[in-house]
Each structure stands twice: as structure tokens, then as C-alpha cells.
């Protein structure tokens, strides 16, 4: 705070550059005045020259800096211009070219945070001076830093074997790199394997998915681990150590031929809640569907007669290759990988949360997943669209959009795919049964390629659209013609009337939700979840597949509802990012990190628990803590917390911030207080 120069810094030679940015800054801030002020008033703070220029980020502007560094032996550079998020790198690189360590350059914003947001020119100019002064004080304490280099292990872990995970795995494997593809269910395929047709092309879902599944299953570079879950992750980008629990299938995979006799002979039938969405049955030993990859069945231990009661063993008896092994145990496998791609998919919104839609009480109310199974030729009704009795074809079907979505009471967001899905259902019902179809919608969201054309097609096929939120689905008949039917009570907003529409079958387009355990999974991998528990990407626009944790990527529906093309794109994008790292062989990390001065550390360990990345280790032998620089993400919480001040944070050290405060309050100028504005700003 005093005027006295720190002898250490007496030799700093700071160059100040104030940008006009055309009229963006100069229109409000008096740039020449600021420049002059810096030159005059900050002279004894180390400023040896101050320039202003129209566009500092231009090549000429940058050359100006480079020239000055060389000619005037500048040791620090401060640029007052736009936001550091835009051009910090630009000016750092300019310094680098002039052989000044890039971290000795500071960019302060007088555009986004001054000229663009204030109207009073005098006040803006004064603030610009204060901001610049803050930057100058701060930069005196900058240290020359070197980015860290970390080697990258060439193997990759892909978590989730749905279409996104399969896509990512195939891309990485095709590039000649090893992939561990971990999937929780007995087979890969994910939700897409449950669907009948995919919009808008009406391709058979299994037909386009199974070739990819088979490729993934057979690929020499893909280690497929199904019926498995990740239990532990440690390490950091390029060097993860992952523990995977392979649950006991109770089938010896080296002997099993996938003949399916065990399933045939198993006497225990169970409702299949996962693959058949509760609409069909499977056996206690089962493969979820005939095209499962891998083809080996698993035994559902809680429902197996042998495991629960000690009898039966029919599968073992009939297995022609003796592949059944009741004594198989869960196995824990540890792998080393350089990068992780999470593609864990979505769960469906539970329509039981909306009791007035009658799901679960009224027999003929179905969810979208149940309906997919109904229409699927390999499903419980062989593709026949029938009511819950398994026999009757509906004559009138009502499809309700936005169930649980776009609703403050449940999920506020739009689930992106339900409109197209509902249109697809409408088309299929018409095609197969000729029934009258009503779609109840709020808006029609058919934005991607060929989607709106599909909507028009369904319109022309004669599906009836009612714009309105369905108030209730009930079986309480009131008017003639309603007996024995399900009545949909809805406000038809385009007509301006309440309508009661009797239907035979109601299909609820339930929305997409994050997986029920996504918060735990996020914690396991060290990433964050949004309020709706979707995984958070680094930047929603410009970096949708990375996370804030280097080396962990996210793709597909686990980041938010999306359709298959977008999921596949994200899978490929994540793969590309991973391959970039692997190809380079090493990664450079920003040197904004914390480090502990061992001599000052008292071993109190307050910092240990503050780190969300577990980057602080405690050495019991020496009673000191240490920061793992590669794991440290540079948040600085430990720096602030250390009672001894033993932790310093490069890039945002205490000295830097304290000096910046002094500079902002103009205390550096002859001990001026802010009340003495005129003197300070003159």
C-alpha cells in the first residue's frame, strides 16, 4: 500500500496497452486519457511505456507488443481490452513469440465490463483507469510458469453399451486403439434395442443396430465387459486406474455356444422389467433378446429356484456343453486407461407420478417404452398392437405428448424426442390397425432433417391433432358412448372447448430423465451433474462432449435428451477427442495449480478434505500434505483455507490478488483513498 517500491520488483518493466476496439471501447472510455494516465501515474509502479491502439488483437497490435518487448526489454505486459476469455491466449502467444514467458502477460477487461455496460463516460473512464491499475499491480507478482506435460495411456474406457457407447468404442477401436466397453446389462444395445422403428426413416431399429453390436462384439480391439459395473476410478487424465466388477453370469463363456436350451428349459418365468418394460416375460436364466451381444446368458440369482431354494438345476442338466457354473463368483478387474467416455443413457419418467393419467390403475394406459415393445415384432405380442388383455385391437388410440416434460411440477425441460416418437406411433397404429388416432400436443417439435416432412406425412394420413394439455384420463363414463372406454379430458385450445374423447388405448409419451444413479456415477468419475442430474459439459455450445475433468468425456443422452443421430455424433466426437490425446501421446495442462510449501505445512490436514478431486495427499511419515499437480484443477480452495498460508496458487496467488485489490482502490498512487478521486484519477 505504501509508495515504496518492493526492491525485488524495482526492475519490473511493464508495458501497458489500451485497446480502442474500434469504437467499442473508445466510444465510451477516453482511451488516450487512460493511456496518458497510466504512463504518468503508474510510472513509479513499473510502467515504462503505455500505448493505445485501435485493435490490439490484430496482427499489427500484436506486433506492437512483440516489438516493445524486444526493444524495451519489457518484463511484464498488461493489455486493457476485451474479456480474457476471448483473447488471453492471443496476447500470451504474442509474448511467447517475443520470448517473454506467456504467463507474465495479463489481460484486463474494459470492454465487456466497462465500455459495454456503462453510459456515463467519465465514470467509465475512471473505472477503466482503476481496472488497469489493478492489472498493473497484479502483474508485478506474476511468475513465469511452464505448462505441465502428462503422458497419455493409449487405452480407453467406454462406460455404457448403448448406441452412443458402441459408436465411440468402434471409432476408437477402428483407429487401432484398445477400448474397454463396460455395460451394466447382460447385453449391449441399450434403449435402441427395445425400439421397433426409428424416426423419420422408419428403419427397423434392430436392423441398423445389430450390425454395430456385432462389430463391437467381434472387434479385436474392443474388450467387451457386459453384466459389469465400474466400482472405482482413481488417477488423472492420461493415467486412470479403473476397477470394474464383473458380476457372476454363472455361465462359463468359453464353453457356452449360445444355443439357448437353458432358457427353454428353465421353469421359472419372471416379468422382464428392463428389456420388455414390464410387458413381457423372461426366464431366470436368460439373454435379454435373441440378438444379444455377447450371446451368453446370465442367471438372475434373486429369481433363480436353485439359488433361492436349492432345487431345479434344469439349465445345468440340459446344457450340452456343461457351461452352467453355479459357483461362479463376481470378479474384480483393474484396468489402466488414458481417457474415459461416459455414455450411460437415460431413464424414462415414471408416469405413476401423474396419478390422473391413470397409468398403473387403468389397464389400457401404456408408456412409450411399453408401446415400443408392443409394436416390436419380437415383442410380447409379436408386433400386434393390442390392449392389455392381449387380444383386442384398439379402434381409437390417444397419444399424449409431454408426459412429465415441460411441466414445472415434474421436469421443466423438453425431452426432445417425444413429438417425433408420438408421430411415429401414430403412423404405425394407422398402418397396422387402421384405428383412429388422436395426438394431444402442446407444440410440435420436429426440427431436424426430414422431421417436419414426417409430421406432414402423418397429418396427411389422417391422424387427428388436438392442441392442449390432457387434464385427465379416466374410465368414469359420464356421457353416452363413454361406457367401457377410457376418456381423455382435454382442452382443445385451437377450438376453445373442453373435450371428452373416448378412446380404447392411451399411450403416454413419457419424458426422458437422467439415470436414477447419475449423481453417484458423476461422483465416481469426478464430474458434475446439473440440477436435473444430467452430466454437465464443459461448454454447452462450444464443447458439448468434454467435462471440466480432463480426460473424462460424456456423450449421448446422459448429457441431456437427444435423438439417435445426435447421440451418434456425440459418440464420434468424444472418440475423436480421445484419439487426439492418444495421438499426441501427451497432454499439456494449464499451470494454474496449487502447491504446498513443505517447510510451512504443519500437517493439520484441513486442506485434504476440501479437494473435490482428491488431489491432496498426506505423507504420514513427514506429517505434511502434498498437492498432486496433475490432479489439481486449480480452484484455489485449499489456498484460501490453509491457516498457515503454506499453500500457494500459481496464477492466482495471494500476492497477486491482494495487489489487484490495492490497484483497484488506487492505493498504489501515493496512498490515495477512493474519496480523493480527483487527485487519483487526474
Amino acid at each position: 500500500m505504501s509508495d515504496e517500491l518492493n526492491l525485488e520488483n524495482a526492475e519490473e518493466r511493464i508495458g501497458v496497452y489500451v485497446c480502442h476496439c474500434g469504437t467499442n471501447i473508445a466510444g465510451i472510455v477516453d482511451v488516450p486519457e487512460v493511456r496518458e494516465w497510466a504512463e504518468k501515474r503508474l510510472k513509479n509502479r513499473g510502467v515504462v511505456l503505455a500505448r493505445d491502439y485501435k485493435f490490439m488483437c490484430s496482427s499489427l497490435g500484436q506486433e506492437l507488443i512483440e516489438k516493445d518487448i524486444k526493444e524495451h526489454q519489457l518484463t511484464r505486459v498488461v493489455v486493457a481490452a476485451c474479456s480474457p476469455h476471448l483473447h488471453e491466449n492471443t496476447f500470451r502467444t504474442a509474448c511467447k513469440r517475443a520470448e517473454l514467458n506467456p504467463y507474465l502477460c495479463e489481460l484486463v477487461s474494459i470492454r465487456e465490463q466497462v465500455s459495454w455496460v456503462h453510459t456515463d463516460k467519465q465514470a467509465a473512464t475512471d473505472k477503466a483507469k482503476a481496472v488497469l491499475s489493478g492489472g498493473v499491480e497484479r502483474v508485478r507478482h506474476h511468475q513465469p510458469l511452464e505448462p505441465l506435460r502428462v503422458p497419455i495411456h493409449p487405452a480407453t474406457l467406454v462406460v455404457g453399451g448403448g448406441i452412443t457407447g458402441i459408436q465411440a468404442a468402434l471409432e476408437i477401436a477402428d483407429a487401432g486403439r484398445r477400448v474397454y466397453l463396460v455395460e451394466r446389462e447382460p447385453s449391449i444395445g441399450g434403449h435402441m434395442s427395445q425400439f421397433d422403428k426409428t424416426f423419420p426413416t422408419l428403419d427397423c431399429s434392430a436392423c441398423i443396430l445389430t450390425p454395430k453390436m456385432v462389430s463391437a462384439g467381434m472387434h479385436p480391439n474392443i474388450t467387451l465387459m457386459t453384466w459389469s459395473e465400474v466400482t472405482n476410478v482413481s488417477g488423472y487424465v492420461g493415467n486412470f486406474v479403473v476397477t470394474i466388477k464383473q458380476k457372476a453370469r454363472c455361465v462359463k463363456t468359453d464353453l457356452c455356444t449360445g444355443c439357448g436350451i437353458c432358457q427353454e428349459k428353465c421353469p421359472k418365468k419372471v416379468i422382464d422389467e428392463v428389456y420388455e418394460a414390464g410387458l413381457g416375460y423372461r426366464k431366470a436364466v436368460y439373454t435379454p433378446f435373441p440378438q444379444a451381444v455377447p450371446k451368453f446368458p446370465v442367471i438372475d440369482i434373486p429369481n433363480c429356484t436353485y439359488f433361492q431354494k436349492g432345487t431345479c438345476k434344469a439349465c445345468e442338466k440340459f446344457c450340452p456343453t456343461n457351461a452352467i457354473d453355479f459357483n461362479q463368483k463376481d470378479e474384480e478387474i483393474t484396468v489402466e486407461v488414458g481417457n474415459i467416455v461416459l455414455a450411460t443413457g437415460f431413464d424414462l419418467f415414471d408416469p405413476r407420478r401423474i396419478p390422473h393419467y391413470g397409468y398403473g390403475r387403468l389397464a389400457n394406459v401404456f408408456t412409450n417404452l411399453e408401446f415400443e415393445r408392443l409394436t416390436n415384432a419380437a415383442g410380447p405380442t409379436n408386433g400386434n398392437i393390442v390392449l392389455r388383455d392381449g387380444k383386442t385391437t384398439p379402434k381409437v388410440v390417444g397419444i399424449i405428448h409431454c408426459v412429465g416434460s415441460r411441466d414445472r411440477n415434474y421436469n421443466n425441460y423438453c425431452s426432445a424426442i417425444c413429438c417425433m416418437q408420438s408421430l411415429k406411433f401414430a403412423h404405425i397404429v394407422k398402418e397396422r390397425t387402421g384405428a383412429t388416432v388422436y395426438n394431444f400436443y402442446i407444440d410440435m417439435r420436429t426440427a431436424a432433417k426430414a422431421y417436419d416432412e414426417f409430421y406432414q406425412r402423418v397429418l396427411e394420413e389422417g391422424t387427428l391433432f388436438v392442441r392442449g394439455r390432457v387434464a385427465e384420463v379416466t374410465d368414469a363414463a359420464r356421457l353416452p358412448g363413454e361406457e367401457g372406454k377410457l376418456i381423455i379430458q382435454v382442452e382443445d385450445t385451437l377450438v376453445g372447448k373442453q373435450r371428452r374423447i373416448p378412446v380404447d388405448m392411451v399411450v403416454l409419451s413419457a419424458g426422458l430423465q437422467s439415470r436414477h444413479d447419475s449423481k453417484e456415477v458423476a461422483k465416481l468419475f469426478g464430474i458434475s451433474c446439473s440440477a436435473d442430474a444430467w452430466f454437465i459439459e464443459k461448454h454447452p455450445k462450444l464443447d458439448p462432449v468434454s467435462t471440466m475433468t480432463d480426460g473424462v468425456f460424456i456423450a449421448g443422452c446422459c448429457t441431456g435428451p437427444k435423438d439417435i443421430p445426435n447421440s451418434v455424433s456425440q459418440g464420434s466426437a468424444a472418440a475423436a477427442r480421445v484419439l487426439t490425446y492418444i495421438d499426441r501421446g501427451e497432454i499439456t495442462l494449464e499451470p494454474v495449480r496449487a502447491s504446498i510449501n513443505e517447510t510451512q505445512c504443519s500437517g493439520c490436514r484441513i486442506c485434504n478434505n476440501l479437494c473435490p478431486f482428491n488431489a491432496i495427499l498426506f505423507h504420514a511419515d513427514r506429517m505434511v500434505s502434498e498437492v498432486n499437480a496433475a490432479l489439481c484443477q486449480g480452484c484455489g480452495t485449499c489456498v484460501a483455507a490453509c491457516p498457515a498460508g503454506a499453500i500457494s496458487g500459481t496464477g492466482f496467488s495471494n500476492e497477486q490478488i491482494m495487489s489487484q485489490i490495492e490497484g483497484l482502490l488506487l492505493l498504489n498512487l501515493n496512498g490515495a483513498r477512493t474519496q480523493e478521486k480527483e487527485m487519483a484519477f487526474a
Binding site: 470492454r111 467509465a124 475512471d126 480452495t637 489456498v639 496458487g649 485489490i661 482502490l665
Partner: protein, 155 residues
């Protein structure tokens, strides 16, 4: 320049959310009071309470602390730590005679440029109504020397 008292408020922002919110306010040309001078840190968890003391003793009339919304911290949960510190800090400062309205905590996500601007303007008016803090004036002629001395460890 009006004769009205213009408070000076130091604002601490986090690199990922609130600083970007301030940038967004800029790109959206949302106007707000020029009384806040922002400091960028990587995370609100970096906020050392002594920074706030420094700002106050250095002549600031108020301090605004901003960060990501709970649950959305770039570093997962560090804003909760900032919150903990803030609560204790506020209590301590109140005991030292500083009106609670001078120290404020605002969560702002990178998309909430308008909101941040509104909060800033609101705070400026609130601090203006409280009047100048004049910390050093009230506490003797010399400002409190809360500077950060380079640490020295006794042998």
C-alpha cells in the same frame, strides 16, 4: 459527476460462472452502475476472507462475492466452501461494526448476465444508502495494515 456519494464496491467473480455472466451482461449491452470493480478468481472457493478485509480496509464501501450456483460449481462443490466462509465472515464483520448490507453473496450462472447486472445495481443503491464506510477514518488515521506479508517460518 454528481455530488451524490458514489460507493466503490469490489466484486470477486469466479472464472467459470459469474465472470462469464459479467461478460454476458457486456455482450448483451445490459447497463448497470459503474461502481463495482471486478476481480477474477478461478473459483469462489478461492476467496480468502482476508481479501474482503483488505478491500474494506483499503477503502471499499462494499464487497460483492459471486460464484456458481450450488450444485453447478466447475470444481464440483467448492462454492459450498465459499458459502461457509461467507457466513462466518459476515458475522465477524458485523461484530466489527460493518453493516451486513455491505457484504453480499450472489450466485450467478454463466447464462445470468442480466440477473448479475440487476444484482449489482441493487447492491450499489443499497450501499449508497448506507453511506461511505470510511473504515480508516473510523478506526484511526492509519488504515488497518492487513497486508499479506511474505511468510517467514521460525526455525
Amino acid at each position: 459527476m454528481t455530488d451524490q456519494f458514489e460507493p466503490v464496491i469490489i466484486g470477486f467473480t469466479c472464472n467459470w460462472c459469474s465472470y462469464r455472466a459479467a461478460d454476458l451482461a457486456g455482450t448483451a449491452r445490459v447497463k448497470y452502475a459503474p461502481n463495482v470493480r471486478l476481480i477474477r478468481m478461478m473459483c469462489s472457493g478461492r476467496l480468502d476472507p482476508t481479501f474482503v478485509m483488505k478491500a474494506i480496509s483499503g477503502g471499499a464501501d462494499g464487497v460483492l462475492i459471486t460464484g456458481c450456483h450450488p450444485g453447478e460449481c466447475h470444481y464440483i462443490e467448492q462454492n459450498y466452501k465459499a458459502l461457509r466462509r461467507f457466513i462466518l465472515l459476515k458475522r465477524t464483520l458485523t461484530q466489527m461494526g460493518i453493516e451486513p448490507g455491505r457484504i453480499k453473496l450472489v450466485w450467478a450462472s454463466a447464462a445470468e448476465g442480466v440477473r448479475l447486472a440487476t444484482e449489482i445495481t441493487k447492491m450499489v443503491e443499497e450501499v449508497r444508502a448506507l453511506g461511505p464506510l470510511n473504515w480508516d477514518h473510523h478506526n484511526g488515521h492509519q488504515p488497518l495494515a492487513i497486508s499479506h506479508q511474505p511468510e517467514e517460518v521460525a526455525a
